[in-house]
Symmetry: C2
Subunit: 656 residues, 2 copies
């Protein structure tokens, strides 16, 4: 950041996140500002964000604007911390393996990595502890991260001397005059920054694993060694992180899903094409019915459309050829192209357009559990969460501009209803346009009206939300719902998107009270997002211990010996009649083994019946993970379990 002459001697006005404003002399640093607020903040601050730019804490400021002082609690603070940790990792590796060549080392969602060319030296996970120890040693030196800017020529000179082809490759692509380096201790790296003030806050480091990574992701280039790591300002945080990692591994849907009979992926059928096994199908159908009922109550109409469509549809929508790379190749039918549908929208637009619509018919809310297909690189595929075929709980609402706010509220309300059912906390983000960008379609005035409507809807509903400028889709502003799972991980699921572009492209109209043709607005929305991805999150959130209403098998009847099979049959019949998914385990195994099997299958209730139960028409009930919960009168138990299902009660306390 060069020093702008005209501002040098003037005071700068800053606006803080709480809306308060203060002036500071030009040239002040983030650290000084933090200190002016509190000593603790100054100690904990890792970076600052002025307007949308994240900066080093010690960088002198010459322009005002909105300011946030970022600690570990802020994403921008954490990213600077991990970015700096990546530099320390590189420094440690350089010291332990002199002569290595460095690629890039960015922060990522959970930690950081560095791509390194070890030349002929072998490097593997067994070498990580030594590097970790070296990192901690270097961090303790409290080396400051010092920024300096140099010319492209000097930068090239530096790395030619160092004989580092990767950095040279990177510098070639940069403009002159903007090239910055950061130096800490004995290590210097080409870097845009920002970084934390010094290494001393890096108190705990864990290098997680190594992987091969092609230079610039190009499989024609050399494969470097990527070292993944994570670091924290406190040892206890690392412990918590490792514990969570362990938990996440236990809950991994790729392990639990097939094990619980939720889904399978078969190479012979195809990569990224999950097949829903019987248990998974029950789970999915239950989720679908749950949402379908709620949608009917809210005036949605369900439709079913084919999984292919004439290419004409996607040329009209603009999705072809522009998104061709993420689609399956068109098929030729009678000399016309057909596409495996990558989204349901164009089909729904044609259904809307199939009738003359009057203002009295609006809003028209078309819903479909629509399976769509998109091409993903093989390497990107991941269980149920990243697939090539998935089913959206899709709907399109066609309404007038006047109805928009009310419809947005309905969508928000439905989405919240859905996530509340799972007791998952939700962050709400209003994704608006960035007026500096030119990528948006549609009329500016309509955009502004829609953003106003969205904001008003959110305010009237007293939502806690953030606004993200520049996160809108190209056809309109949207609301994103980000849920937190039982491990505190965040997943972006449902969205509600306003669309002014497709009504134009598909020439959709309705006749107004003025007898004139008008354009409807479209809202795209999907609370779950996709059945596949949502199910993968549910599996991990509940660790496979689904709430009773979602459990594929809700109860198992275990007669202690053959002579209670009749009673088992009677109970089974009554439970089935009441809509409860129950089976009787009539195998010749020991009771203990039957209970273990039921625990492994994560069946919520085990109903054990023997002589006492037969005499009194009771059941001895075990609950999974809880053990024996006592002896119940059978019909009393039936009403307990029914209420648990009807109320969609969640598993107690542990959330899985």
């Amino acid at each position: 950041m060069t020093e702008p002459a005209e501002n040098r001697s003037e005071d700068l006005l800053f606006e803080f996140p709480d809306g308060s404003q203060r002036s500071f002399a030009s040239g002040i640093t983030g650290h000084d500002i933090a200190k002016s607020i509190s000593g603790r903040l100054a100690r904990e601050a890792l970076s600052i964000t002025v307007d949308d730019t994240v900066l080093d804490l010690h960088r002198p400021l010459y322009t005002g604007g909105t300011i946030s002082i970022n600690t570990w609690e802020h994403e921008d603070g954490k990213m600077a911390f991990w970015h700096s940790s990546a530099h320390v990792l590189a420094e440690a590796v350089e010291q332990l393996y002199p002569g290595v060549k460095l690629g890039i080392g960015p922060p990522i969602e959970q930690g950081f990595y560095y791509d390194i060319d070890f030349g002929d030296t072998k490097f593997g996970t067994e070498d990580l502890p030594a590097v970790e120890a070296k990192m901690i040693e270097l961090a303790r030196q409290k080396n400051t991260f010092d920024r300096f800017e140099i010319s492209k020529e000097e930068a090239l000179e530096h790395y030619k001397k160092k004989d580092d082809p990767y950095k040279l490759d990177l510098i070639e692509g940069l403009e002159d005059g903007t090239i910055s380096f950061y130096k800490q201790g004995s290590f210097t790296d080409l870097c845009r920054g920002p970084h934390i003030p010094d290494t001393s806050t890096i108190k705990a480091v864990k290098l997680l694993n190594t992987a091969g990574a092609y230079w610039r992701g190009d499989n024609q280039s050399k494969q470097l060694t990527r070292i993944y790591g994570v670091s924290f300002p406190k040892k206890s945080m690392l412990d918590a992180f490792l514990h969570q990692l362990e938990e996440a591994k236990k809950r991994d849907h790729k392990k639990l899903g097939p094990q619980l009979g939720i889904y399978m992926i078969d190479r012979m059928v195809g990569s990224g094409l999950p097949m829903w096994l019987p248990n998974g199908t029950v789970l999915r159908r239950t989720l679908e019915s749950f949402l379908r009922e709620e949608q009917i109550r809210r005036g949605y109409q369900e439709v079913i459309t084919p999984h292919i469509g004439n290419l004409e549809l996607y040329k009209t929508s603009g999705h072809y050829p522009y998104y061709k790379d993420s689609q399956f190749a068109p098929m030729d039918v009678d000399d016309e192209g057909y596409l495996l549908k990558p989204m349901n929208c164009p089909h729904h637009h044609r259904i809307y357009d199939n009738e003359m619509r009057s203002y009295r018919d609006l809003p028209v809310r078309l819903a479909e559990f629509g399976t769509v297909y998109r091409y993903e690189q093989t390497g990107e595929l991941n269980g149920l969460s990243r697939v090539r075929g998935f089913t959206q709980d899709d709907a399109h609402i066609y309404c007038s501009q006047e109805q928009l706010k009310e419809e947005i509220k309905n969508c928000i309300d439905l989405t919240q209803f859905v996530f509340n059912t799972f007791n998952m906390p939700v962050d709400i983000r209003l994704s608006f346009r960035d007026d500096n960008e030119k990528k948006y379609g549609g009329d500016l005035e309509l955009w502004e009206q829609a953003q106003k409507d969205i904001r008003e809807a959110a305010d009237e509903m007293q939502l806690d939300y953030t606004i993200a400028k520049g996160e809108a889709s190209f056809y309109g502003p949207k609301i994103d719902f980000i849920i937190h799972d039982a491990l505190g991980r965040k997943w972006q699921l449902g969205t509600v998107q306003v669309d002014y572009v497709m009504p134009e492209r598909f020439n959709l109209t309705f006749t107004g009270a003025d007898n004139q043709k008008h354009r409807p607005v479209i809202i795209h929305r999907a609370p779950f997002g996709s059945m596949e991805r949502f199910t993968s999150i549910l599996i991990e959130h509940f660790a496979g211990y689904f709430p009773l209403w979602l459990s594929p098998q809700q109860a198992v009847i275990i007669p202690v010996s053959d002579q209670y099979n009749d009673l088992a049959g009677e109970y089974e019949k009554e439970l089935l009649q009441a809509g409860i998914r129950v089976k009787t385990d009539r195998k010749k195994d020991q009771i203990g083994a039957k209970i273990r099997n039921a625990e492994t299958a994560k069946i919520p209730y085990m109903l054990i019946i023997g002589e006492k139960e037969k005499e009194n028409r009771t059941v001895s009930v075990r609950k999974h993970k809880k053990g024996d919960i006592g002896n119940f009168n059978f019909s009393e138990f039936l009403s307990i379990i029914k209420r648990e299902i009807d109320d969609r009660m969640l598993p107690e306390s542990d959330g899985g």
Copy 2:
């Protein structure tokens, strides 16, 4: 049929359909045999079938075998009648339009046609009545159909003289020595026969329409004029036929379907790719739930599989490349071919094979409402009944040979349960192998066991069935269900197929009680066949007046004026709560108009509420097609309508 010397003087033994046997002197005719039974039978007989060959009634017989004497009531009799009528049609046209050239003139499902080259003469529907009249005139002449056989040379000579390129083309393809002609009155035609004794039984004729038809179906050849007709032995039969034709037109699902909001077909989406509109989706989901519930009760497990599959699957099953012409072209993904799935079987086989199966796990019954895609010629497409994408109510049952009979019984029972619900009569056909044909796969011994099992199952269930040799599929015998709709038309729907081939091809196994690997048998079954085709039949069967439980909208509440809107709202809420699909018509229209709208939309119940109803908490109820059925206490009406739904009651008397 040449006279086999060795049989000339011996008696022939015939077995009649009732199992009785009688001997006749060699050289006897079918007519004589009929006469020996009854004079009436001799008068009504149209052809005979000896073993599987249909013959003229006056043809001398030199071999015995099974014999059936075919009257109008037999398919073989009707076909001879219509075939002979086609000859009379050609005779009439030749007389009215001398010099026309004749193509072919076969019987078809409902009547017959003849392809004729009228040269430069224009011929259209307006010319049909004159031809009809001429046909009746000729028929009254009681001309006999006389068969004679000639050499290929003579036959060619005959048509060269007549300058008829089409017949010459046909004769070129025939073997010498087998060429027969039939002559009635002044008309002679190249023909295999058989024909009825004489023209006098043709009492009523209707020529239905004309169409263009390429010679030999080849669009590079000349287009001839195809005249479609139908004929009957009684005038009353023609009247009934024409009445039914009129009825069928009124019930045409291609008219009613879109009109009632069941489905639409949109050129921009694609030919043969119906989209289910909101009303159709309710109907289809209701059908699916109905079958799903029943399947769960019978131990089926539902799965969901993707709509594409790696080509490897279909190469393994043998469906690719052998059925390539009826499939969409494969798509290339990462250098592997993927096919839009033409059937669900291979996916299910892979699910079966995903686990080690023990004899204790069998039968495994995997069900899916699976949407499949097959290529059909554009000209073959027809509303919902012939499409390029359809959803099968598919299931595959994997069982041991010992379980086969019981499983077949279960399948038959389920299919009958389904059709009984719609009160549709069903013909059952056991389609077995023809040992003379070589097209079948799998082990002969297993086939015989399966055919025995099927027959025993049918006998034990006391079914009325026919056996059709040669109608089995290549992989095993099957049972076909042919339903009769309200107009008496027959539709082949559900099938139950036994399959010994796919278990081999997919190498499916289970571990027996002997701890050895065994092959399961597979049953493929689909009671509805496809949701699309079945819905097209339901629409026509009920003429759109669906039974209440299937009606997309079951009731409409019509307040006689605004001041009863509150009561309407109350009633609506209570009905919705009870799961009844109801809406309130709050439009500003007159009551009469609202009732007319409801009648047009074929909504079963209209609930009219005014002052009297408000005072007494009653409803005045109109039933569609019936009019006013009286005033009911509201809660009494609610229980009536609920019972009608729960019991899946059919519309009264008229069947639609």
